[in-house]
């Protein structure tokens, strides 16, 4: 509060974003998470930069060999270089995570804003539809849909990613919907919204320039955190055989191929490296989301 009082007319009042950035950049955790995110996104965009080996050229003679100078992560069951597979596996996981989080935020955010702002019949109908999809556990729904529309091993990467994203969004959007609906309902009765309306702003303008910007913070935070958990869910689906097909290099597939008890016992490095990459990515997005939340929430300062 004191900040606002001391702001003189000459200096511009600082925005919430600038304030948050100031808090964030002083936290080491933010930089750890940001570096990890940049690293894995770079791997997803240009895996060639990180390794010269081909993740698909494998030699059974090297099967399950431990890490060595030639192959720092060792070789998997088929004799493929695990480092190359870990680098190339980033693309599928990150694509699924980013697009699922974005699509769920957009769909849930849009419908949630409508339900929260309009209320009444629109709210009742949208809320009941959300209830329907909410009552079917995400994993269960994704497994059933994945079996109804099985992905063929010949499908290209974008086709598989689109399908998994759609399935996860179908059963994941009620979360973002409920969040945004509640958030909009909280912002709507504020004086500045009433003032905008009294000044003659139409409902569209009231919503887009007064309500949504003030109700958006929880959605951004939860979507960043959820991004990580969607990546983990995709890996779980691949483990159950209804996610990405084996022809696509992905962490989920490699982890599930390595998590048989016999393999964990005799070749733990097969599980360790892809699992570590997956966990670090999930962790980076969760930490990023939490740091952003702490920075945007003045109560926790």
């Amino acid at each position: 509060m004191s900040e606002i009082v001391t702001t003189t007319a000459a200096e511009r009042p600082r925005s919430l974003g600038a304030d948050a950035w100031d808090v964030m950049r002083r936290r080491p955790l933010f930089w750890v998470a940001a570096v990890l995110v940049v690293l894995f996104v770079a791997m997803a965009i240009a895996p060639e930069l990180f390794t010269t080996k081909d993740p698909r050229s494998c030699d059974l003679a090297f099967s399950r060999q431990l890490p060595s100078a030639g192959a720092i992560f060792g070789y998997d069951f088929q004799g493929c270089d695990i480092f190359a597979r870990t680098v190339y596996g980033a693309r599928a996981s990150i694509l699924v995570g980013i697009f699922t989080a974005l699509a769920a935020a957009l769909l849930g955010g849009l419908l949630g804003t409508l339900a929260g702002y309009l209320g009444g019949a629109v709210d009742a109908v949208l809320s009941r539809i959300a209830d329907i999809f909410f009552s079917i556990p995400l994993l269960l729904g994704a497994i059933v849909v994945g079996s109804v529309v099985p992905l063929s091993p010949n499908s290209p990467l974008w086709r598989c990613v689109i399908q998994i994203v759609l399935v996860l969004v179908l059963f994941g959007w009620p979360n973002t919907f409920r969040l945004m609906r509640g958030s909009v309902m909280q912002v709507k009765p504020n004086e500045y919204v009433q003032a905008a309306r009294a000044l003659g702003a139409n409902p569209f303008r009231v919503t887009t320039s007064h309500i949504v910007p003030n109700a958006l913070t929880p959605l951004i935070v939860v979507s960043t955190i959820d991004l990580g958990s969607y990546i983990a869910t995709e890996a779980t689906l691949s483990f159950l055989g209804v996610g990405l097909p084996g022809t696509i290099v992905s962490w989920g597939r490699d982890i599930s191929a390595a998590s048989g008890i016999g393999y964990i016992r005799n070749a733990p490095h097969m599980l360790l490296f892809p699992a570590a990459a997956l966990c670090l990515t999930v962790l980076a997005f969760i930490i990023l989301g939490e740091v952003v939340r702490d920075a945007l929430d003045p109560k926790l300062r």
Binding site: P137, L140, V148, I287
Partner: protein
């Protein structure tokens, strides 16, 4: 209160119809032929296929099949699967096992999750706080199937503290799988409890309590904790449905004959009747749990009394 319950029960009807319609449609659309492989190594004769399809009503249009199914469901009949067993029977022999798993997970959420959250919240910024915050993050980041396989390896095979698989479904055998199933939610509950407690410990009413000379234990226990635990209780109740869904993975790792493996098997065997029955029961349990949690919330928080 009574009015509120009736309204909530009425609201459940469209949710239930919608959820069953989706699941029924998906199981109807499962690819593959349920008569394949029923006649040994040769294709089934046309007369048998025709009898099979009319016996199970597969020759009727989708909506008619759904109508017949829902009609039977109202009388408590979940149908008979393609192996001649009633779905009720299939579920009745497996639900106790899966419910035991879920109960172990819920108890862990309450004891470990809330306990760790309170410890971390009270000792904010100390070692125990960092320990809880970091270890819960790690648990959240590791996919449950990796955690399950590792737990099976370390505690089952290397240390021999727990049985490796849980074929008979006794409490002792289910302890480790139940903890694995609940691990993710234990971590979320701990974080949620900690965040709310930290926020409430700074609230004006807690400061007032201290100012009046109240013992710290009483100020925290009576004032801060009571208000901090409400979101955790909602979360634990809501996690019940997700636990039943997550059982598919856990039961597969530990070879448990429960509802999760029944669902998985019914998908791979194109056994739509069993699939729909098992999922319908999960949806009902989930909706009832949500209602109970909301009612409990009203009892615990006078501001939210459902008049």
């Amino acid at each position: 209160m009574g009015k509120y319950v009736v309204r909530r029960l009425l609201m459940m009807i469209p949710t239930f119809l919608g959820a069953t319609l989706i699941i029924f449609y998906l199981s109807f659309a499962l690819p593959g032929d349920p008569t394949a492989g029923r006649c040994g190594e040769r294709p089934c004769p046309a007369s048998y296929v025709e009898w099979f399809r009319s016996h199970y009503g597969l020759d009727k249009p989708f909506l008619v099949q759904y109508g017949i199914y829902m009609g039977r469901l109202l009388t408590g009949d979940l149908g008979t699967n393609y192996y001649g067993n009633t779905v009720i029977h299939e579920l009745a022999i497996r639900y106790p096992t899966t419910l035991k798993l879920a109960v172990i997970a819920i108890v862990a959420e309450i004891l470990i999750g809330i306990g760790a959250g309170i410890l971390a919240g009270i000792r904010r910024g100390r070692f125990i706080d960092s320990l809880v915050t970091i270890s819960t993050l790690v648990v959240i980041a590791i996919p449950v199937f990796v955690l399950g396989s590792l737990a099976q390896m370390v505690f089952g095979i290397k240390l021999k503290w727990f049985p490796v698989t849980a074929g008979d479904g006794t409490w002792g055998q289910l302890l480790l799988p139940g903890l694995v199933l609940g691990s993710l939610y234990v971590a979320y509950v701990a974080r949620l409890t900690r965040t709310n407690l930290v926020e409430n410990l700074r609230a004006d009413y807690v400061r007032t309590a201290y100012a009046k000379g109240m013992q710290p234990a009483r100020a925290i226990g009576l004032h801060a904790l009571r208000n901090s635990l409400l979101p955790s209780i909602t979360y634990i109740g809501a996690s019940f449905g997700a636990l039943l869904g997550g059982a598919i993975v856990t039961e597969r790792i530990f070879n448990i004959n429960g509802v999760g493996s029944l669902i998985y098997r019914s998908i791979s065997q194109r056994d739509g009747t069993t699939l729909v029955g098992a999922v319908v029961v999960i949806v009902v349990i989930y909706m009832v749990m949500t209602l109970l949690v909301d009612l409990l919330y009203g009892l615990l928080d006078p501001r939210l009394r459902h008049e």
